[in-house]
Point group: C2
Chain length 409, copies 2
């Protein structure tokens, strides 16, 4: 059960000029549900992406990197759920390229203008012929309005689909940003991967788009964690079709850069949070803010040390204001020269740690009260600088063990 | 239930000349069980230690470091279970020093010749007057034969006590090494800490003893992990009384250094393994060996990436040969330039990954067979150098969540 997360309201998802979405059932997933998604981009669309740092990067990730390096333009993205095409060696690379070839034939573009994505079981061969067989259906369903169907077609064990839109004005022109994502653990019960695709009809030059995708990733998807594991297939792709008549953004100093980045971040953060809300076995959604660090990077390190600690996560599950585990996790973050006598900690609005020790007025029942709701806020003040950061995570429940231990037994 | 671990056979625990052990019930633990342990050392004993890297180092750890720096000789160690004296600020330091004062008065030594250790709940004041009241009992029970009772008195939520002995010849003289430890998670349900004390009647100069304690820690306690969390009170102390007539070891090149280190490592590794076997909720004991890394440090990093992954640990619990999670964890270790096409992986004697992909002859039932027993061996060959290392861990079960979520609810 996702924490305060419903499938997106279909009417709220705004089409993006220059982006058509199609879908089909290829029979790769165990259960009969659409499992192939095709995104067609109008000529002139710019595409930039960030990909997993895992050394076992899956075949489609390797092909994406290569096609983005070789090709000035990208005309299509193809995504399959049910098989990650990872740990599959040369045959896997061949299968990913063959998928791109089929899409290029169907849409009349170059092979290197197609980006492939896969999510699902690892170490099993991709049944590429099933994707080929499903492509005509994907092409026949291509339409700008199919965001909800597309977001559903990329799900694996997600309990709800994840998509959101917003719009803004750039140089007097209305511009749309719509994104979708999937993922519920960094690595699922044998089902890998977070995938996110955000499209806008604003115009952005490619180097500036690449800069924006990195900056946005750092403050959204890189700040969400379910179990600390990083999948072999993680991908976040940002697409700017330029189909709206807004002035093209060609420098980070352009007036439109900050405005567009704010809108893209808004979509990315909402999608990232939805991944933690739909985390495996999650019963709580937890926002961890670290302030007064020497840098944002240091703040992230402390926040993730808290977010990754199994002892902290099980305490959140139990609604237990277990202060000892929290200070242990802060002390464990590897912050050089941390003076613990400057550290304050708040659970919700309750100050629980004051200058490294239990706050004088703190009563256990106040801590228990703020730990009870499904949404919990945590704030750490390190008392040593101006850096701050926020990380989102979920708790660690019996169901996490159940989902991950019993998946194949 | 510990995995293949029984309490030590009392008759197998060899007294160490120059070491007397006493114990008492001070009423700090919730349940009536001895909770204070006193170790008296004969004049001339050398002591060296390594302590937690957690920034919230507890008051007794701070006092230990100070007394070891100030004092040439150490005459006593005092340990209480039930309260960690951590996050307790100036009052905590005062309490730790007051404990040392009471011991110094009782034994007739200097305050700085006493090392204090605490393990138990965090962020609560140490009831030092209860320790003072229990000290006469500790002193009256002092005897060389009390290793088993001492190992029991330092337990918190350990399900069995942990102690082991061995002996060796140094320069024709028989020398004894006996150690004890406690700890079942790096941080317990609110009960902190791994503590380990190893004593020998060999003679070792202090700088050489300090070198040995670091080297031994690196290949024993630093290679065991239950949940990846590091307690605020972790301490490992090595004591050489010199009471046996063996020639004193004053250089790492001395013939006796390697022999004694081997014996101390043997004891330390057995104690370290017993911590993983008694890990919270453990149903499996897992040995992870990484070979052909560029360095031992790199091998440890890969082994710990596997050992810390909640997805891998839940798969072990389920006896599930989940190869995808294993390669994910290897790829996630942050090894620069890892060529995954050189990576082999064995579960027990079964080769499951061959050059980065599923081994040709691998059948799922063979993987399932080796994952079934309570003891599982994993071997990774990175195919890039001569470094190797072994790490021990346990699985992640429903009971881990139960123990950690329900401790206070």
């Amino acid at each position: 059960m996702a924490v305060n997360l419903a499938a997106p309201d279909r009417m709220s998802l705004l089409p993006v000029a220059g982006v058509d979405l199609g879908f089909a059932y290829a029979g790769i997933r165990k259960f009969k549900r659409n499992d192939v998604m095709l995104m067609r981009l109008a000529p002139g669309a710019r595409v930039a992406g960030v990909f997993t740092q895992n050394a076992f990067a899956a075949a489609p990730v390797q092909v994406c990197r290569q096609h983005l390096a070789e090709s000035e333009w990208i005309r299509a993205l193809v995504v399959n759920a049910g098989n990650a095409n990872c740990g599959t060696g040369e045959a896997g690379l061949f299968a990913a390229r063959r998928t791109c070839e089929a899409v290029a034939r169907g849409l009349g573009c170059q092979v290197a203008e197609v980006l492939p994505f896969s999510t699902g079981v690892i170490l099993e061969d991709l049944p590429v012929e099933r994707i080929e067989a499903a492509l005509p259906d994907c092409i026949s369903t291509l339409a700008p309005a199919h965001w909800a169907e597309a977001a559903e077609a990329i799900m694996t064990t997600d309990t709800v689909s994840k998509a959101i839109s917003c719009s803004l004005e750039l140089g007097g022109v209305s511009v749309t940003v719509t994104g979708m994502a999937k993922g519920v653990g960094m690595l699922q019960p044998n089902m890998a991967t977070m995938l996110a695709f955000i499209c806008t009809d604003a115009g952005v030059s490619r180097p500036i788009l690449q800069r924006m995708v990195r900056e946005v990733a750092d403050e959204s998807f890189n700040r969400v964690t379910v179990d600390g594991d990083t999948s072999t297939n993680d991908s976040f792709v940002l697409i700017a079709t330029g189909a709206a008549a807004a002035p093209e953004i060609v420098a980070a100093t352009d007036v439109g850069y900050a405005a567009l980045k704010r809108a893209v971040s808004h979509v990315a953060i909402a999608l990232a949070q939805s991944i933690a809300r739909d985390g495996e076995g999650a019963t709580k959604f937890i926002t961890i803010k670290v302030e007064s660090a020497t840098s944002a990077e240091e703040a992230v390190r402390v926040a993730k040390s808290i977010a990754h600690s199994p002892l902290v996560k099980t305490a959140f599950f139990a609604s237990d204001p277990n202060l000892g585990r929290l200070i242990m996790a802060i002390g464990n973050a590897g912050v050089a020269g941390l003076d613990t006598s400057h550290v304050d900690l708040y659970l919700g609005d309750v100050k629980v740690i004051d200058r490294g020790g239990r706050a004088a007025g703190y009563r256990e029942e106040d801590g228990a009260r703020v730990m009870k709701p499904a949404e919990i806020g945590l704030r750490v003040d390190l008392g040593r600088g101006d850096g701050s950061a926020t990380v989102w995570t979920c708790d660690f429940s019996y169901d996490y063990v159940k989902i991950n231990a019993e998946y194949r037994t």
